[in-house]
Symmetry: C2
Subunit: 178 residues, 2 copies
Amino acid sequence: MTFVLDEGLAVLERTPATLRAMLGGLPSAWIAATEGGETWSAFDVVGHLVHGEHDDWVVRARLILAQGTERTFAPYDRLAQFRESEGKTLDMLLDEFATSRAANLAVVRGWALTEEQLALEGVHPAFGAVTLRQLLATWVAHDFAHLLQVSRTMARRYRDDVGPWREYLSVMRTETRE
Amino acid sequence: MTFVLDEGLAVLERTPATLRAMLGGLPSAWIAATEGGETWSAFDVVGHLVHGEHDDWVVRARLILAQGTERTFAPYDRLAQFRESEGKTLDMLLDEFATSRAANLAVVRGWALTEEQLALEGVHPAFGAVTLRQLLATWVAHDFAHLLQVSRTMARRYRDDVGPWREYLSVMRTETRE
């Protein structure tokens, strides 16, 4: 196992600025581009990350730490951003993400978690017992997974434009859905 | 075709700040992590991007624009960063990337490229005729491909730490090498 709390928090605190540097002020053709069908745009991803700050990670961490009789997480709504982002601009979502992420990290740092607390368990509605350590590691990996998704989605806008270089760019191979 | 020069340049000018926001000051365990074997760390990727600013994109663009008798690109050294990054810190590479990228974008903007120029051809040593438009689109897609790679590499550090969430995170499936 490689998870170290401070290293994980160092990633979590950078993601809002990373997304702002990457997406802030970009032409809307980039922000709105999807990979087709039901796939998400960069705008959708930022909305999803905002929703996670409100309804997912810290809510579940609190439930674990409380160790009450009810330890099963509420199911997470992966499509909430399609309602909640309506009428908002990307800049509004980036601001909201930065503010709520910072507030959540202040909460987590305030807990001064011990190894014993990191080993406490909650119950995931789909796959059962998970530890607080696994939840926090997943929060970090989930940020990277969505940075990856945004990078892939925007790269693929140029699938045809890159011409013969397509063969050299594995990101353009649509059979992979990493 | 979706490539529009100004939209492409808008991405290229953001990548140095994106990588700085993402990687600057991160614990070295993140910066040095690879996916095993010969795979690249975030440090290696930034070195590769620096090398590209010096030896790849704008060099090849100049060769195309010159339309001289020699239009075949010099082969690109994909491993140059292992020599050139030696003894440097990540911060030094991030600075070098920002400076050389900004200089290159100033050159490209200075060209005030026309549609006719974007259609001019050079010769790639491996796959033959390519247009300036394809070269510039690839420069953009290549940035995204490496942001994707860095995100994937760092996510996979937590492959075991995320526990049962691994099944939900496609980035953790090592059979894909996107």
